[in-house]
């Protein structure tokens, strides 16, 4: 099976003094569903940031979608990011854009035609049950609704990899359920690789998944 992510002796840190991830070795198969767990401050989000190139490895090698993150040019990183869907804990929606335009963002960046973009956005708005809110702005929505918009945005361009940072962190059951369904759907129907950073793995997960746990800077697989 193809590997979407390969990490060898990967060390991550924000400065030279404190190493957050220390010489980690792991890989992720294409089309798999992966959970990354760990205590607060263990380095889960840091690892996720390195996967989309916002944080370069201090040491070792990290290859995502065939792109070596260490030493990758801005153009290569942009190319990689155009094939990744990211769901952030704090949503990261553009406040001055309507939710419709927010969902369109990856499609615009990828140069999709207007009619394709509109159809895709309409379909996603239906999936996240926000069709009636299309013209609203992010700050007019609740936290759960904003996260559903962020989820729709991450799925809009059919990425090869979805990275989600605690996507259901502070959400109500309804929004959490919708988000897990969408992530499962993307993985099973579109064969998208999904990596979710979370504190708790939902008990109702109906698919096979891989589980990595981060502790004291090292990453190990939980069987």
């Amino acid at each position: 099976m193809d590997k979407v992510i390969v990490a060898k002796d990967l060390s991550l840190s924000y400065s030279n003094d404190e190493t957050i991830i220390n010489k980690a070795n792991f890989s992720v198969d294409s089309g798999s569903f992966v959970f990354i767990t760990g205590a607060s401050g263990s380095g889960k989000s840091t690892l996720l940031k390195s996967l989309y190139g916002a944080l370069k490895p201090q040491q070792g090698s990290l290859i995502v979608g065939g792109v070596e993150i260490n030493g990758a040019s801005k153009t290569k990183l942009n190319f990689l990011r155009r094939h990744i869907g990211i769901v952030f804990q704090d949503y990261k929606l553009v406040k001055e854009w309507t939710i419709e335009k927010n969902i369109m963002l990856p499609l615009i960046i990828n140069g999709y035609e207007k009619n394709v973009t509109q159809n895709q956005v309409d379909s996603l708005l239906k999936h996240v049950r926000l069709k009636h809110q299309a013209g609203k702005y992010p700050l007019e929505l609740s936290g759960g609704e904003q996260q559903r918009v962020a989820m729709a945005r991450a799925l809009s361009h059919n990425p090869i990899l979805i990275l989600a940072d605690e996507p259901t962190g502070n959400l109500d059951d309804y929004s959490s359920g919708l988000i897990w369904n969408l992530l499962e759907g993307a993985n099973t129907q579109l064969k998208t690789t999904v990596i979710v950073v979370t504190h708790h793995i939902p008990e109702s997960m109906g698919i096979d998944y891989k589980h990595f746990h981060i502790e004291y800077g090292s990453i190990h697989e939980v069987n």
């Binding site: 916002a54 990011r81 094939h83 990744i84």
Partner: protein
Amino acid sequence: MKSIKNHLSLIVALVSILFSIQVFTIVERSIDAYKENLANNYSVVVVSQTKIEEKTIKALNPLIAEISELNPDSVIKRLNTKMDTKNLELLKVTLPKFYRLKLSHYPNPVEVDKLTKNLLKHKSVTKVENFSHNHDSVYKLLLLFKEVISIFAIAIFVVTILLIIKELRIWQYMHNDRMSIMGLFGAPIWLSSAVLFRLAIVDAIVSSILTFVVFTYLSTNEWILQQFSYIGIDVVIFDNVEDFSILFGVAIFLSILLASLIVLGHKEEV
């Protein structure tokens, strides 16, 4: 409403810069026109023992534009009653020659001094009357006026540059979020900063048009035209093509510079 307010702050700053540039241009033009006026009314009188050729005088200093010989008849007329015709004829022959020199432009005191010295070098020239006292006071007044206006224009320019720097910080705060988010989804810098450049160009166009409207009105305003006619000069207040091109160029340059500084100062979120 908030968006209009954001546009307004840059437009106001740009309009003030364009306004100060145009006012400075008008002052420069007025001073040039006034100098030309003064040059037309200012002349140097040369007294010579013998007749001097026009080209000989012109060769003495490049400032000299025109030479005319003064007719001595008016002076002789006054003596007419006390002298007989024979003596008058003799006087006409022996009387020195008087020349009035018109200059190509209104000279500064150094040029007047140099001109006087050059003229006196000619063996026939015995006296040069340059009316330097009058000339100096007018010239100094002109310089003072120009300096006051320059200081005023520089002060406006500095204040508006400070306004623009403040605007830069506001814009940086406003656009950083969107640019970072777009960057996280792989948008190239030209795409993530496109909105910023579009805003900057729109603001530059709006401020140029506003300045155009204001100065087009001022250039046809009766009261202003009357003020210029009082001091006897005719000045182009606003040249629709040349001045507008300069102001539009400045506005576009400043707003694109502002947007570029924001893009250059943008740091990717980690």
